[in-house]
């Protein structure tokens, strides 16, 4: 099975781990991430205003490329997932944006939101299946107590993203279970880490991250995993960081036994 793959800017630089381990794991799990050509940055945040068109075009380009190749579009970064999925929803359902975006793009065939955006975790859950994943695990993470940190961008608004129950998600917990570890459920797992606010109001972000860390460690987590480079940054650099924070692909690679192999 081949998927179009949209890595996003951060995975090329600061979050190489998130990307590398995903590719290695995919290989073991029997699917391929085919990076789309000439992708451009999604912008990091979804432009909410209904009259924003130009800022959505890079996403439309990526989506259209996947459509042309007849593949589903996979992302790893929460922000890319959020932006791509919402732009795709606009292209499907918002007439005005669809018409204007297509006018800009001048494609051979207009893009109407045909592509399907998947997060890597969704591929594991819906395409591979966590039961299958469990069978492929060679080094189960037995005994580890892992807290899932979802953040905002994967979950909200639930109506559009449809990733999981936005107030009580389970996908990463199920993922943790599949790898043989014990998920730690704590109520702050879908609270915001502060996001881009940490650029200008570090104190606010720090307070929020501390709340998350306190809750997670209070419920007994040894480590947290996340899918978002910015969450990872804020949680580690911007808080008292009582527990380490890893990308989910890293523990995946570890459990699948492909972490050690250096390129």
């Amino acid at each position: 099975m081949k998927y179009s793959y949209y890595p996003g800017c951060t995975l090329r630089t600061k979050a190489k781990d998130l990307d590398t381990y995903a590719r290695k794991s995919a290989e073991v799990l029997g699917f391929e991430l085919e990076e789309i050509e000439n992708w451009q940055c999604c912008g990091g945040v979804y432009p909410l205003s209904s009259d924003e068109i130009a800022t959505k075009l890079s996403s439309v380009r990526a989506l259209n490329e996947a459509k042309v190749k007849g593949q589903q579009l996979v992302t790893l970064c929460s922000a890319c997932y959020h932006v791509l999925k919402r732009v795709n929803d606009d292209m499907q359902n918002v007439e005005d944006i669809r018409v204007k975006a297509n006018n800009y793009m001048k494609l051979d065939e207009p893009y109407m939101g045909e592509a399907k955006v998947l997060h890597f975790l969704e591929v594991l859950r819906d395409e591979i299946g966590f039961d299958e994943l469990k069978k492929k695990v060679v080094k189960p993470l037995t005994g580890k107590k892992i807290g899932a940190y979802y953040g905002c961008l994967l979950l909200r608004p639930g109506e559009i993203l449809g990733f999981d129950n936005p107030e009580n998600p389970t996908i990463i917990e199920d993922f943790i279970r599949a790898l043989g570890a014990e998920p730690v459920i704590y109520p702050y797992r879908n609270e915001c880490c502060g996001g881009y606010i940490s650029l200008k109001a570090k104190d606010l972000s720090a307070k929020m991250c501390d709340n998350i860390m306190d809750s997670a460690s209070g419920f007994g987590a040894d480590m947290l995993i996340t899918a978002c480079p910015l969450c990872q940054y804020n949680l580690t650099k911007n808080s008292k960081a009582t527990v380490p924070v890893y990308y989910f692909t890293e523990i995946l690679a570890e459990a699948l036994g492909v972490k050690g192999e250096e390129e």
Partner: protein, 131 residues
Amino acid sequence: MSSTNSKTAAAKIAEISGTNPLKCMKCGKCSASCPAFEKMDIKPHQFVSYVVNEDIEALAKCESLWYCLSCFACVERCPRDVKPGKIVDAARQTVVRQKGGNYLSANEIPALIDDDVPQQLLVSAFRKFRR
């Protein structure tokens, strides 16, 4: 800002946010959910009232614009489908689109970042704080 300008600006905010502020029933669930509440001078639920009352001048000057995290907690939980986060963002848009409306200048960035800052942080902040 003259009253007609306020009216147009308020209408513009309602339009690009795609929500109807009149549906708000003042339950405060947005403000109860907002992680940046303490930093906000105009609280999320008040934000909606300001648009209804067309007090756009105050909105344009307020700090809240720059503290909203776009975490969508209020959007997710608003029982009236008003989605205050979208209104805050629309107001922010109307400010940054004006000349001199940028909240972040390129010059100040080096002092704000460290080696580990992910690109995502910068591009997101640029989108939110600048034209």
